[in-house]
């Protein structure tokens, strides 16, 4: 297991702008989503990624459009970073048929075939074996693609996690495991859920190549993910990255946050992945405050556009309720 220490990486301007824009888009898009939830435009469960943006954005840098992504119910960040349109995501959360899942999935079930974005899984750990299957299919068809699977620390207590690690290692499947360790599974702190709170060694003990990165540092995540994706693509089997991160907001909109202190949240907020990356870019004189202002305007326009798109969207006719239970156009 490697534990890479942080080096102050050099950023070039375009790269800096791209990473910053993506993280900012996620942050602003979700802040708007929370507002719309209070306004009852969005319903069901809404899990925000606030604080964890560097993970999805850093990881996606390492993937090609041919690779596959499997995410959890906290997946707005992954979807946006992967390039699923903000319009389609917002419309989905409105329940409109222009949504990326036709309004049938909502916030927890974003899907986009064109982006090879396979959800949006709300059963904790449910995406892991699915990812193995995509990887197996690629391996069997001789396709040099990576399947990237996101999951939380909570998922690593489920039996399916260990079953999946073992199988992936045993069959050397091309899976990039991305653990988003935000220290809590809903309101259960990792110390109440894991006898050994270090998760990465558990993956290593299955023979999976493993590394730990600072999940609040987008460049560190990107570097790790590039190493991992290359390792997987070269046919060396699975790779596991633990991203140490933190969610700034409640688990979902239905959470009184009784299980952690304000002080703890404030401490982590000081390591805000967006602010700290922008600071780094400023230090290196590749970005300025004016750049940030322009990005904010640009992102605000995209978010407003998504809301307008969702508002203008249409409701799927009730007569279509039983569509998509079985495939249409089945040969007879």
């Amino acid at each position: 297991m490697k534990n890479k220490t942080k080096q102050t990486a050099k950023v070039d301007r375009d790269h800096g702008l791209r990473l910053l824009r993506k993280m900012l888009l996620i942050r602003r898009f979700e802040a708007k989503s929370a507002e719309l939830y209070s306004a009852m435009k969005i319903r069901g469960f809404l899990h925000l990624y606030d604080g964890e943006e560097a993970v999805a954005v850093g990881v996606m840098e390492a993937l090609t459009p041919e690779d596959a992504v499997v995410a959890t119910y906290r997946e707005h960040g992954q979807a946006l970073a992967r390039g699923v349109s903000a319009n389609a995501i917002m419309a989905e959360m409105y329940g409109k048929q222009e949504g990326c899942s036709r309004g049938r999935g909502g916030s927890m079930h974003l899907f986009d075939a064109a982006a090879r974005f396979y959800g949006g899984n709300a059963i904790v750990g449910g995406g892991l074996p699915l990812a193995l299957g995509f990887a197996l299919a690629d391996a069997m068809q001789g396709k040099k693609r990576v399947t990237c699977c996101f999951f939380g620390d909570g998922a690593t207590a489920e039996g399916v996690f260990y079953e999946s690690l073992n199988l992936a290692a045993l069959w050397r499947l091309p899976v990039l495991f991305i653990l988003e360790n935000n220290l809590y599974a809903m309101g259960t702190a990792i110390c109440y859920a894991h006898a050994v709170a270090d998760i990465a060694p558990k993956a290593a003990s299955h023979g999976v190549q493993t590394e730990i990165v600072d999940g609040m540092d987008v460049l560190a995540v990107e570097k790790g993910a590039r190493r991992g994706a290359e390792f997987v693509r070269e046919g060396n089997g699975p790779y596991f990255i633990e991203c140490r991160t933190y969610r700034f907001r409640a688990h979902s909109m239905f959470d009184a946050e009784l299980y952690r202190t304000r002080a703890e949240v404030e401490k982590w907020r000081k390591r805000d992945p967006i602010a700290s990356f922008f600071d780094l870019c400023k230090e290196q004189a590749v970005l300025s405050d004016a750049d940030m202002e322009e990005l904010e305007r640009d992102v605000a326009a995209e978010v407003d556009g998504a809301v307008a798109f969702a508002e203008a969207g249409t409701w799927e006719p009730v007569e279509d309720l039983t569509r998509y239970v079985y495939s249409e156009g089945r040969p007879r």
Binding site: R43, G44, G95, V124, E158, A185, G187, E316, V318
Partner: protein, 333 residues
């Protein structure tokens, strides 16, 4: 209830919590375990405050390990404790299904009567909160397929508080299904409300033209429908099944013998559902009492969709109950 007993206003959620408090206070063998029952306060806030009141030995936050902690509940029950296992929702209980079916439901029989499993498992069920297809199904009817367990589904404050008590006294596994739309329902309950029987269905509204046989959240829609129907001169009897396994045939057949028409309202999918079982039993046991075919209102046979209008269209509604009953009464009057 004793005359003069003090009544209090509370929600279904609070009544469920009172049931847990009763159980924990009464019997030192009782403990609650499940995901987020402690520090978080329960995913539906049912167990809020219990960790502070009863301590971490008895209010146990588990890791996300449904299979393991459900199986552990079975072992602990056999080992002399009286565990209450909470699974957040019925969809997640599928991760524990192996233990429920292959151990909890079978051990007494397989061991030739040596080992009973006095375990209670609680979980939320049902659609209506726009939680989509991995959070909103009604699989209690599936569980009612399994011999060796009891399946109950409290629809009232008295039942959600009192059924837990009775379930804990049962020598065998009892699964309690709480519909997630009921948690905010308000009502009145005696401060000292106690155990209730879990063997009988209950006629909640007497009527003479049709028997509406239902349970859980659909009960309240059925009662509302019966009220509307009364305004149109149709007298509907409404039965709360309360227990899905074993079914109380006597109450069902008694009602059908009186009204000669039966409508079953069930939030589960129609094919192979508890409503299918009830319908078959009515045909088997009360065929000659019927003036009209037995009818069923169930969920549409789709994974529950997210969009509100689609979700509501997928599950039984008071309006559809009214329309169905009118058709039954008029076309076969």
């Amino acid at each position: 209830m004793n005359p003069g007993t003090q009544m209090v206003k509370l929600t279904y959620r609070e009544a469920a919590r009172e049931g847990l408090r009763d159980a924990l206070a009464r019997d030192p063998r009782v403990f609650l375990m499940g995901e987020d029952v402690g520090h978080y306060g329960g995913c539906f806030a049912v167990s809020k405050g219990l960790l502070q009141e009863f301590g971490p030995e008895r209010i146990r936050d588990t890791p996300l390990s449904e299979l393991a902690f459900t199986g552990m509940g079975i072992g602990a029950a056999m080992g002399g404790m009286r565990p209450i296992v909470e699974i957040m929702t019925v969809n997640f209980s599928l991760l524990a299904l192996d233990q429920i079916l292959n151990n909890a439901a079978t051990l007494l029989h397989m061991s030739g009567g040596q080992f009973n499993v006095p375990l209670v498992i609680r979980m939320a069920t049902g659609a209506g909160k726009q939680l989509a297809a991995q959070h909103a199904h009604s699989l209690e009817g599936w569980y009612a397929h399994i011999p060796g367990i009891r399946v109950v589904s409290p629809a009232t404050l008295a039942d959600v508080r009192g059924m837990l008590w009775t379930a804990l006294e049962d020598p065998d596994p009892v699964l309690i299904f709480e519909n997630n739309t009921l948690y905010t329902m308000e009502g009145e309950l005696a401060v000292d409300a106690g155990p209730v029987d879990i063997d009988h269905a209950r006629v909640l509204r007497e009527g003479s033209d049709v028997s509406i046989i239902t349970y859980s959240a659909s009960l309240h829609k059925s009662l509302a429908a019966a009220e509307t129907l009364a305004g149109e001169g149709i007298s509907a009897e409404v039965i709360d099944l309360r227990t899905l396994r074993p079914l109380d045939d006597a109450t069902i057949m008694g009602s059908v013998a009186k009204t000669h028409r039966a409508l079953i309202v069930d939030e589960g999918w129609r094919s192979g559902s508890i409503s299918a079982e009830i319908s078959a039993r009515i045909v088997e046991q009360a065929f000659y009492e019927l003036d009209a075919p037995v009818e069923r209102l169930c969920s549409a046979e789709v994974p529950i969709p997210y969009a509100r209008h689609m979700e509501q269209a997928a599950i039984p509604q008071a309006e559809t109950i009214v329309a169905t009953v009118k058709r039954m009464v008029q076309s076969h009057g």
